[in-house]
Structures are given as C-alpha cells and as structure tokens.
Symmetry: C2
Subunit: 312 residues, 2 copies
C-alpha cells in the first residue's frame, strides 16, 4: 500500500519548510543503558516538535483552492502550533479550536504563530462541533493530529533522516500518543532500515495502544493521569492498521521512570525535551537486556515545556 | 607576548580530550535582538562547561614527573569537575578542596569524575590553607581556575573554534567571572578575528571587572548576590593585563535581565544553559542598538544547573 517512493516524495515536499534536525549521542547515557543510543532531536524542529513535519505535508497536499479556504484543527498541544506555523509559512489561513481550559502559554504560542483561536468548552464533543461550525462557515479543511495518512507519512520523515545518518540501527523507539509518530516511524524503519524494528513507548497510565495491540481493536483510556501530556490521546483507524503491521511491540513505563529519564536527558545531554519524549529513553532503561549492545534510535518528539510546571 | 601560534599549539594539544562543540543559531532570538547571533555551545562540552579546555591544557603542560604527583585546586564549581575529569582522562591524581557548604550535587559530580575531595570550612583562607597542606603532603601542583596563563589560553580555544566556523564576527560576548574565559576569548578574537571586538557581560551585583577596568586596578565584590553563581570571583594579575589590553568593554546587566535571557535560551533554543551563560545574551538584549544588524558570537559557558534550584 505504502511505498518507499511515497515517503521519499513526502520528504522532498516538506524539506524546504522544516529543519533537518541533528542526531545527538551521549557517552554517559550509553554507559548507563549499555546500548548505543542515537537521539533524533525533533525538539530542535521548527515550533519545537516533530508535528511540524506532518502538518506541513498535510497542508501541502491540499489543492490550491482548498489552501485558500484554510485549515482547521482542534488541539491544545503541539499540533495546533504546528498547523499555525505551517499554515502561516505557506500563506494559508489556520483556524484552531482550543478548549477554554488550555494553558495560557499554549494559547500564546498559537497566536505567535498566527493561528486564529476559537475557544470552546473542554469536551471532545464541543471541540468537534466547534470545528465543524468553522468548516461550514469558512470551507476550511479539517486536519487530524494523528489519524491522517498525510500527517502519518510526514511524521515518518524524522526516522527517515535518522536512518540516513545511521543506517545500521536495530531499533527505533518513539513515544506513542495518537499513533501518528509511531506509525510513520514504523513505515520509515521498514522501508529504509535493515531489519530495524520499531518499538513504541507508552505510560502505564494511558496504555491504550498496548491494549489495542493485545485485543486487536482500538482501546480507549479511562484516565489521563500522566506527565506525558502529548500521550493521552488514542489510536485511530488510519494509523492502527499500520501499527499492527509494522510496530513490533509497545513497552510501558511508570510515571517515575519517565521523570527520571527526563531528568537524565536534561542533566546529561543539556537539552530541553518534553516529558512525553522521555518515555522512549525510560523504555530503554526499563528493558536494558533487550537493548544491551544494540544500536538504538530514539525519536525525541519535542521540547515544548512550561517552565513553571516542571516535575523537579 | 602571546602569539597566534601559541593558541594554535594549545588547541592542537587539547583537541584529543575535548569536544568540538556546535555553533547554534536561532531565528527567533535573531528576530528578538535584531542581531545575527552565533552561540558557541560549551554547555555541550565534556563535563558541561568550557573549563574542561583550560583544565586539560594546564595539566598537559605539567612535566611527566609533576603529573604523577597530581594536581590540586580549591573550587566549588565547574573547575573542580573539569580538573577531576581532565585528570582522570590523563591518569593524573586530582585533589579537590571544597567548602563543607558546597551543594551535594557538586560534590557528587566531582566524585563521579574521580576527584578526591577534602572538605574545609567555607572561607577563602581555609580553602587556601587546606590546598597548601595537600601540596606539601603529596607534591601536587596547584591549578588556579582563572588566573593561570595555561588555563586562560585553553579557554580561548572555544572562541578560536567559533571564529573558525564564522570568521566575520564583529563581536564576541562572554560572561565575566574570574576573568579566564573573557581574557582567553579576547586573545582569540585578536589573533583569529577580523576586527572582532570582545565584550564582557557581568551582573551589576558583582561588577568587579567593570570597576577594575575603570580604576585600573583589581577591584573586589562586596556582595555575591547574583544568580550567576560562576561569576562571583574576581580578576587576577595574570588575566587583568590581557583584559585591559584586549577587552573593549564590560556591559553590566540586572538579575531580572539574566533570568529573562535564561528563560529565552531554554524556551526558544531548547538547550540547558547555566544562569552565568545567560548574562551574555542579557547584555545583547540590554544594548540592542549597539548590536543591531551585527554578527555577534556568544559563548555559552556551561550547562550545569541544579534542576531543584531553578529561578522559574
């Protein structure tokens, strides 16, 4: 269904609008894990997260006519910022539906990137209805943060670049939220790696993806009590089949393990990453035996944190 | 007195033992300052600070016989860690005198890097006496964190590398503490820049270097009430003459400006830097007119922060 050529086309399409982010290594973290780690630093991506890739690809795939009418999404996180900045860069109007409860810093960030915010009550139903109203009024196209093939393929380009730089990786580990990143990564690992397995990392508190792979159908979360605020969402019908086919397993981690991994990355690598991103290193630390002496890619998903809300 | 060749020799000498750190740029910080900024990221240096350069050079300059007896320093900060790691790398014993009041994290870091700690009461007199006692007993050589020519030349190699990558800088701004970094930087700017001026950045709270340049003699600080914990020390007779000759000016900044600059670097560049390092960006923000449309190098001195003691 998907092809190597398709991913290459996506990468070429978005390349003028994204940063080719660096791959960092850390002697200390290699010693600590016993593995050879290669961190693909999407925290240095434009607007601070990999979501810039998928958002850019999805907007570029729209027709000229559709681009003039604009795009709409409902998100309180990085995708709202990504759509805002990608749309601004491409001269496309962006309408962002945000729950009134969203943190002020997130609203400010969307405004900085030029997105038009419409606030709504903080339920999924209200968000969807508000987005639909905007679509009717403006003709804007709805873009989903993770359950959209163009978004998924865009997210996969981070792992493509990682494998371009380090083509002998045996594993790539990414956090799992809505499933866009891990699905895109698994396609990239399949087409550009040499027997490179994709592993998802997920908090126990929101282990819907783990349970979905067990049961064979999309499961939901009863609580969202995790520090990985980008990981609370569930899989969708577009990314779940890809994940079933190409992701070899999901490793679940405790909240305390995420915080410890977060601290290690901040203190040892001197880079700012989001709690969600630390989930991947936490998984490697939790299952040391699996990764010992292996070459392991880790996708650092983003670096947008509220410095007033740190877990340290 | 000093020569271009001397600096080149120092750089060649230490190169196998240090990281060649990256030079980062930030579109957002360029927009905010109106200048073209080039950040030399010594927070990514081994042990997390530029001090690794001077420590390595100073130890390598000792005779074989002296290296066997070891080195001693009194410091509660990055230099203690730098001497410990450089000495360990070179197979040299390192004795570190630390005030009993030093934060536990700093003691732990020195131990991790293999330094032998001797604690003493927290006065300069006690520190000096304890260091002298160790010198008598072990024959170890004393190394000063900033008032030592080999240390100064070592620190200058960061700016050498910066100018190698970006040879048209009009200014290089560094924080000023004991004076080793700014003195070494000014020599590098003089010998490797094209009319590149060196500017020091110093907190108003500890503006001894500013006052020293005014009065023509080494001034001391009455208080040490600054968040820039690496900047509390005073100049010495080895670096002051260099600073007088080659540093064009010192810009002083308020504590609140340092914290704002720190936050900007963390949030916008997604890198962890020490409060001391943020002083340089604070100086550029404070004197925007001077730097507008100029190419400005900024030496990010280090990234060792206690995450439990953040000013946010």
């Amino acid at each position: 269904m998907h092809t190597r050529q398709e991913l290459e086309k996506v990468h070429k399409r978005i390349l003028p609008y994204i940063h080719k982010t660096p791959v960092l290594t850390s002697r200390l973290l290699n010693e600590l894990t016993g593995a050879d780690l290669f961190f693909k630093c999407e925290n240095f991506q434009r607007m601070g997260a990999f979501k810039m890739r998928g958002a850019t690809n999805a907007i570029l795939k729209l027709s000229q006519e559709q681009q003039q009418k604009g795009v709409v999404t409902h998100s309180s996180g990085n995708f709202a910022q990504a759509i805002s900045l990608a749309a601004k860069t491409l001269g496309v109007p962006a309408y962002i539906v945000m729950p009134s409860s969203a943190p002020k810093v997130k609203k400010e960030a969307v405004k900085t990137y030029g997105g038009n915010i419409t606030e709504c009550p903080p339920t999924l139903k209200d968000r969807e209805e508000t987005a639909e109203k905007i679509m009717r009024e403006t003709g804007a196209a709805f873009l989903h943060p993770s359950n959209d093939l163009d978004v998924i393929l865009g997210q996969g380009t981070a792992a493509m670049e990682l494998l371009e730089e380090q083509n002998d990786l045996e594993y790539i580990v990414t956090p799992v939220g809505g499933g866009g990143l891990v699905a895109g990564t698994s396609l990239a690992a399949h087409f550009f790696g040499k027997n490179c397995k994709t592993i998802g990392a997920e908090p126990f508190e929101v282990d819907d993806a783990y349970r979905s792979l067990q049961s064979g159908k999309i499961e939901t979360n009863k609580t969202t009590n995790t520090i990985g605020d980008g990981l609370k969402t569930q899989l969708g019908d577009k990314n779940f089949p890809i994940i079933r086919q190409y992701v070899s397993e999901i490793i679940r981690v405790e909240e305390i393990e995420i915080i410890e991994a977060l601290r290690l990355i901040w203190e040892r690598m001197k880079i700012i990453v989001e709690p969600s991103s630390a989930t991947a290193l936490a998984a490697v630390l939790r299952e040391k035996e699996k990764f010992r002496n292996r070459k392991v890619g880790i996708v650092i998903s983003g670096g947008n944190v509220d410095l007033n809300q740190l877990p340290f």
